[in-house]
Symmetry: C2
Subunit: 313 residues, 2 copies
């Protein structure tokens, strides 16, 4: 399998955008026809999982031509237990069949053999290669709280499979700053130390693709704009996965600060503002009940907004 | 539902031990008869999940009388995808039917609505109460990297259901110290700051049970003995979940430093040293191929070892 960084860069170039669409299915926000099928069912759990799967497939069809990748959020699928996890797997499989790379937002993290087990679980275990019904993402997000021991098992498992890992380095929520900006006597902040630890793993020569980028990247919130420039300069081999564009309040220009001068090195994710576009009057008025069309148009608009912000940078 | 801290204290008193048995099923370490059934199956994925479930149930039967709770490790079940998650759910259900409290070791963590979704997923969502086939643990472990915004959704969801949450504060692996012992100019370390943030949530009066302990606890590695005394003194309302007893190298006396003078306030978990006791010559020679008996004896021995260490403290 080709190196993950080369694959994702190719996708960004082919689609002419760093836009990644987050798949966060919520029962109470599903398109009406999908929601009504659940109410009518005698098995609401299976019906809900089916609705999550159908919704995710609908989103994927709608955005396949104008996004570089999808980022299904495991938390929402896990709300439906094992049936939800099955829907997650089928969603990953379907996205791949439509030519989209899949970044599983699972934020797993632990130490030692448990980290290895999570890595196998979510990046596919060679032991189970023959079990074709287990479909794992092309990359996952992880939590690096345990340090190198907690990061390396994921990085190694990813590398063996031509896959990637994004370590959560800086969150964009207000309370994250209390912990993540905790500074030592020299002014170094905790997230900077964490980023350095990630880079120790990410910048090993064996992890660098032909494009010069590593298969081990970092998740840094798009609203953390002040940090963007310094992180980008300090870690030229890192791909930043930047959530928060759109509904979470990060502006296109802020997110694009994580890009290198050649436009590579950052993936900008938007979730709610695209996948629930049918609740947005702007699209509702134009396309009525055609929720897929609303999503497609919202994705094209965000792609255009990113392109305009890039041109005007 | 009674408060989680009162329930767990009752279990510790009834079983006369703070011992929690970790359920970490690994394919290559399963008892021979269970492993052979997988090799003979035409559907190795389903057979593996069934073997994990059967093994976990066997362990639960063997230790039900001499452990306060079980701690199934989600990572190992997730290796088998949706079928593994189903086995995890059935394991939780079976443990409860045998009168054991269940602490799901899931280490989930995220922000905002995603944290809420994880909390609902793993502590049961009232929306799905009628879906009786989803069985959630009595408590879960979480990752507090996102700070209060990432902790409160779990604490609130747990409280509504008479359940508990243990925030991972200090890992016992060597590389964890690089991040977790990162100190500010006053010498305060990162894990101490994190513990203070957890305590802000945990020590709210509404979260304290009749026994004086909170339903929001902390996970602190048993090999972090130097930290035990100061954490115990600083946070009298906290229950510490202490992994690492046995195979990971923590001694009984080290783990018991997290107990209060009355013996409450700590749960000591052992996994491999109990559940794979049939690979230990000490038990193999005595009980031969009877793996359940090996596990039962190992659990009784560790309970006795803890009791002796407590008496000699």
């Amino acid at each position: 399998m080709e190196h993950f960084a080369d694959r994702i860069l190719e996708a960004v170039r082919a689609k002419r955008t760093p836009l990644v669409v987050g798949l966060d299915p919520r029962l109470d926000q599903l398109p009406k026809p999908l929601f009504e099928r659940i109410s009518a069912s005698s098995d609401p759990l299976s019906a809900s999982a089916q609705a999550f799967e159908d919704f995710s497939k609908g989103v994927i069809e709608a955005i396949a031509d104008c996004a570089a990748a999808v980022k299904p959020q495991s938390a929402f699928f896990e709300m439906l237990g094992a049936r939800g996890v099955e829907a997650f797997e089928k969603t990953c499989d379907f996205a791949r069949s439509r030519g989209l790379l899949v970044i599983g937002d699972v934020k797993r993290g632990d130490i030692g053999s448990t980290a290895e087990a999570y890595a196998s679980a979510h990046l596919r275990n060679s032991e189970f290669v023959e079990m074709e019904n287990i479909v794992a993402p092309d990359a996952i997000t992880i939590n690096g709280f345990a340090g190198l021991d907690g990061i390396i098992p994921f990085a190694d498992a990813a590398q063996e499979q031509g896959k990637g890992v994004f370590v959560w380095v800086r969150a964009s929520n207000p309370s994250a700053a209390v912990l993540q900006d905790f500074a030592d006597a020299q002014g170094k902040r905790f997230f900077e130390l964490l980023a350095e630890q990630v880079a120790l793993v990410a910048c090993e020569p064996k992890r660098i693709g032909k494009c010069g980028l590593s298969n081990v990247g970092m998740v840094v919130g798009g609203t953390a704009a002040p940090q963007a420039r310094s992180l980008r300069q300090k870690f030229p081999q890192i791909i930043f996965l930047v959530p928060g564009y759109g509904a979470q309040g990060a502006a296109a220009a802020d997110c694009l600060q994580f890009c290198k001068d050649n436009g590579s090195g950052a993936l900008v994710t938007a979730s709610r503002s695209i996948i629930y576009a049918y609740d947005n009057p702007r699209y509702k008025e134009q396309f009525g009940d055609n929720w897929e069309k609303c999503i497609e148009q919202a994705c094209q608009d965000m792609k255009a907004e990113l392109a305009a912000a890039w041109a005007n940078r």
